[in-house]
């Protein structure tokens, strides 16, 4: 292999974000492959990764992973800078904003499930806003909104549950895993 002449100084944090973003991009591709009865209704599996990152590494890392997923995912799917990219980006920005707020709710009562549902609804609201104001103004969108919202609740809950389950699983890691994580 040719030795690269460019070298960027990267930190362990960068590597972690890149690894997690790659995971999110992979799940975004799975998402895109799943057939959907209504255009725009997708499980949003990549958001599980974003939720995990939010809980483990904080908001900044989650924002990085989410936005990298949007940009790199669109490059892979060939939708970069297309209307569907704008929809994806606006949804991601809105759900990050709502996560930033929802994350501050008392953790005793509100867990990943709440964060996930709130993010899903913010995602939907931003997308409907973009569609209504820019892409298809005066469409019969209002009649479809409840179906989209029901999907947001369903998939938001499921993704939140998955994230909560995964977070619960690594709450008490074994010493061996801890050592391995430190080495990685």
């Amino acid at each position: 292999m040719t030795r690269s002449t460019i070298s960027l100084a990267t930190s362990a944090e960068d590597h972690r974000i890149a690894r997690l973003a790659a995971l999110a991009i992979g799940l975004a591709l799975v998402d895109a492959a799943i057939p959907s009865p209504l255009p725009g209704v997708k499980p949003g599996l990549a958001n599980i990764v974003v939720l995990l990152v939010l809980h483990r590494h904080g908001f900044a890392a989650a924002a990085w992973v989410s936005l990298l997923r949007v940009v790199a995912g669109s490059l892979i799917l060939g939708s970069f800078l297309s209307p569907s990219f704008v929809l994806s980006l606006s949804g991601a920005l809105a759900s990050l904003l709502s996560l930033n707020l929802a994350y501050r709710l008392p953790a005793r009562w509100f867990g990943p499930v709440s964060h996930s549902i709130l993010a899903a609804i913010a995602h939907l609201a931003a997308q409907l806003g973009v569609v209504g104001l820019w892409l298809i103004p005066f469409s019969g969108l209002a009649y479809l909104a409840p179906f989209f919202a029901a999907a947001a609740l369903l998939f938001g809950s499921v993704n939140g549950l998955v994230a909560a389950r995964l977070l619960q699983a690594d709450e008490a890691p074994l010493p061996a895993e801890e050592a391995q994580a430190a080495r990685a």
Partner: protein, 127 residues
């Protein structure tokens, strides 16, 4: 550790979030049908406004025209031409009008009925 302890994964506030989201869905499902209902009916005769009435009270109105009397019926926030002396009875066959902007025109008798809402959908209609 249990394989899937769903109950402990969902905290009490999460149920609240789910309930709020469900309420939002219900509201979204009802909203498009609730808004934009007709509020008033404008009845014209010979180009002049004969009556401008609210739809809340059920009643019958008799409107005179060149051919005779047209009977208009307001019922259940809807309106229709109940009978009319016009030969082809188009306006009567139109039946109940319920949305703003809908109208029935009995041309030979020069009587028209038009529903209006809070939002005026059209400035004018041309046939």
């Amino acid at each position: 550790m249990k394989v899937f302890a769903a109950a402990s994964l969902i905290k009490s506030g999460d149920w609240l979030t789910m309930a709020a989201a469900a309420a939002l869905i219900a509201w979204l499902a009802l909203a498009p049908w609730r808004q934009g209902g007709a509020e008033r009916v404008v009845i014209r005769s010979g180009g002049q406004v004969f009556a401008d009435l609210g739809l809340l009270r059920d009643r019958s109105i008799s409107v005179p025209g060149p051919l005779g009397i047209s009977h208009i019926r307001i019922e259940n926030r809807r309106v229709r031409v109940a009978s009319d002396p016009s030969p082809r009875q188009y306006c009567v066959k139109q039946g109940w009008l319920e949305r703003p902007g809908e109208s029935a025109i009995c041309l030979p008798n020069q009587v028209s009925v038009e529903l209006t809402g809070r939002v005026k959908l059209y400035d004018s209609l041309n046939y």
